[in-house]
């Protein structure tokens, strides 16, 4: 087995017929099998994948390379896949087989990508550690005693361990960016509306956004190209046209929001400060800026996300699909037991929180107030982008914590507070890129670049330039080398 290349390298190797899709996919299968201890996958579809790979090889031989033909990809188990179960890492959907493909899945399938399996995640994407999965936690390939982050932890771990060259993720409050940072890979949360939500199991509708996860910024660009685009089946889908690829990026004004650096530990601050130096060396100017409502983003996020989640998850009632309690005494018993047995404790917390914030007498103080503060948070960004082109921030307050460190205690808000750097861009719907920028005690540290609406090209170009200057993204955990 050779080392798995990046997505771009894999695509180029297939185009050059240096390798066949069956070989690449077969390699992935062996790696996935060897890395079972990571628990990165909920479902592996070896036979379907090898059959698709064989068809892809035929197509490449016949018509040449196109798109992502024959390239292996893993989908977060939140994307509906026709004929392959979609669990959202919940007991509720343990046996649910979608009769349709999510738009993202259909587009990647149409581009020729070969789905090798469905990756593990926090249950219904609610969590920052991947420990809320019904199928058990995912281990971080850099240190299996640590969490990979969440909720797209399975995708991040699979990439870090070199199991697949590309994966999909979803990001509601940081679920692509934070695991990318913890696992030393690259992840992009596109502008809200850039990528269709149709077929992505809903967590918080006004925040959820699918996006690419890969080893490099260049790979993210390639993957995004086959995920994005207006979808008439999603009312909130934007009609922004394809992400452009400007040949040259000018020198940029990079804003450093001081609120994001105030409480940063030295282990993370060090690599971040070096990144600032690297960006200056690349010819960009860095300035201090202020986003004064940053401190309120986590509270606002937990109100908005929980409120939307509480009603998005009402459809799981044990009637048309999903877990159904045995021998219900009556209708109420059917609902209550099916849902209580089907959902894990974190999901229940969010449902109850959301139900509380929407209930009579509390609506205005919670949901109403949150939506108003949300506007102020967005305005902070709009004001900042009047002065600078992008914002540079840490992706997470710390490197990957140990398993159980955030979820084992008596206070669930300890985990929630980890999202402090990622939720503001989610609330504003802005695109944000997370890429590796160094290490702290052998664990990856990530930086985040936030751009104005639909400025993915600018973020990716800056990321690509940075990754030409640095090699953090090329480092692999020793465990991966052993696979």
């Amino acid at each position: 087995m050779t080392t798995l290349g990046t997505l771009t390298e894999t695509r180029d190797a297939l185009a050059a017929k240096a390798v066949s899709s069956v070989e690449v996919v077969g390699d992935c299968m062996k790696r996935i099998d060897a890395a079972r201890h990571l628990n990165a996958f909920v479902t592996v579809c070896e036979q379907e994948a090898l059959a698709s790979a064989a068809r892809a090889d035929g197509a490449i031989a016949r018509d040449g390379m196109r798109g992502l033909l024959g390239v292996p990809i893993a989908h977060k188990d939140i994307f509906c896949t026709d004929g392959v179960r979609t669990t959202c890492a919940s007991r509720m959907l343990e046996n649910f087989v979608s009769p349709y493909d999510a738009t993202v899945v259909a587009r990647l399938r149409a581009a020729g990508a070969v789905m090798v399996g469905k990756t593990n995640m926090d249950e219904f994407a609610m969590g920052s550690t991947n420990e809320t999965s019904h199928f058990g936690p995912v281990a971080n390939p850099w240190d299996v005693g640590r969490v990979p982050g969440g909720s797209s932890g399975g995708s991040a771990a699979a990439l870090a361990a070199g199991l697949v060259p590309a994966a999909t993720g979803t990001d509601t409050g940081g679920s692509i960016r934070q695991p990318a940072a913890f696992c030393g890979i690259s992840g992009l949360k596109p502008t809200y509306g850039r990528v269709s939500r149709f077929g992505m199991v809903a967590f918080a509708s006004s925040l959820d956004q699918g996006g690419p996860m890969a080893r490099t910024a260049a790979d993210l660009r390639l993957l995004l190209q086959h995920m994005e685009g207006h979808d008439p089946r999603d009312s909130t889908s934007a009609d922004a046209g394809p992400t452009p690829h400007a040949p040259q990026q000018p020198a940029l004004n990079v804003g450093i929001p001081r609120e994001y650096w105030a409480d940063l530990g030295d282990d993370v601050a060090g690599p971040l400060e070096e990144a600032v130096v690297s960006l200056r060396r690349l010819g960009h100017r860095c300035h201090d800026v202020s986003l004064p409502h940053t401190a309120f983003a986590v509270p606002v996020y937990y109100v908005v996300a929980s409120a939307e989640a509480s009603t998005n998850l009402s459809r799981y009632d044990g009637v048309r699909y999903g877990h159904r309690a045995a021998e219900p005494a009556d209708l109420d018993d059917l609902y209550r037991r099916s849902r209580s047995e089907g959902f894990g404790v974190e999901v229940k917390r969010r449902i109850l929180t959301g139900t509380y914030t929407l209930s009579v007498g509390y609506y205005d103080a919670y949901y109403g107030q949150a939506q108003r503060v949300r506007r102020l948070i967005r305005q902070d960004f709009l004001d900042a982008f009047g002065q600078v082109d992008v914002l540079l921030t840490p992706a997470t307050p710390t490197p990957a914590p140990a398993l159980g460190a955030l979820t084992g205690g008596a206070d669930p808000t300890v985990m929630y507070k980890q999202d402090v750097y990622t939720v503001p861009a989610s609330l504003a719907g802005l695109p944000a890129l997370s890429i590796p920028c160094g290490f702290a005690d052998g664990l990856p540290v990530g930086l985040q670049l936030i751009g104005p609406y639909f400025a993915e090209d600018r973020l990716l170009a800056l990321g690509e330039a940075y990754q030409r200057e640095t090699d953090w993204h090329l480092r692999t955990p020793t465990a991966a080398e052993a696979l």
Binding site: P99, P299, V319, D332, R349, Q369, R375
Partner: protein, 95 residues
């Protein structure tokens, strides 16, 4: 902030969830902490600020009135825990 105990009962009823007694006290404690966290935003002066429901100021697209979905009932009901004669079955409902 501590929520009144009966609020939790009401929330469980509204969200069709039930908990074991020990889970109940645990979740009650969790909710108190979560409410403590989210209450931090109460200090923001939002007088005259309009709620932001969506990050982008879009308007609703409209679909042409045409039948575009095909319904394969048997396939859709393969996921159904209990269905007969094309109907989903639930415990008896009295109106």
């Amino acid at each position: 902030m501590a929520l009144p105990g009966n609020v939790v009962e009401k929330l469980l009823r509204l969200s069709a969830l039930s908990l074991e007694p020990h889970e109940r006290s645990l979740l009650k404690g969790d909710l108190d902490k979560i409410v403590g966290l989210i209450d931090a935003m109460q200090s923001v002066d939002t007088h005259g600020v309009l709620p932001l429901a969506h990050p982008l100021d879009g308007t609703q697209p409209l679909r042409t009135d045409a039948v575009t979905e095909s319904v394969d009932r048997d396939r859709l009901q393969r996921n159904a825990p209990l269905a007969r004669d094309g109907l989903y079955l639930v415990p008896r409902v009295v109106e």
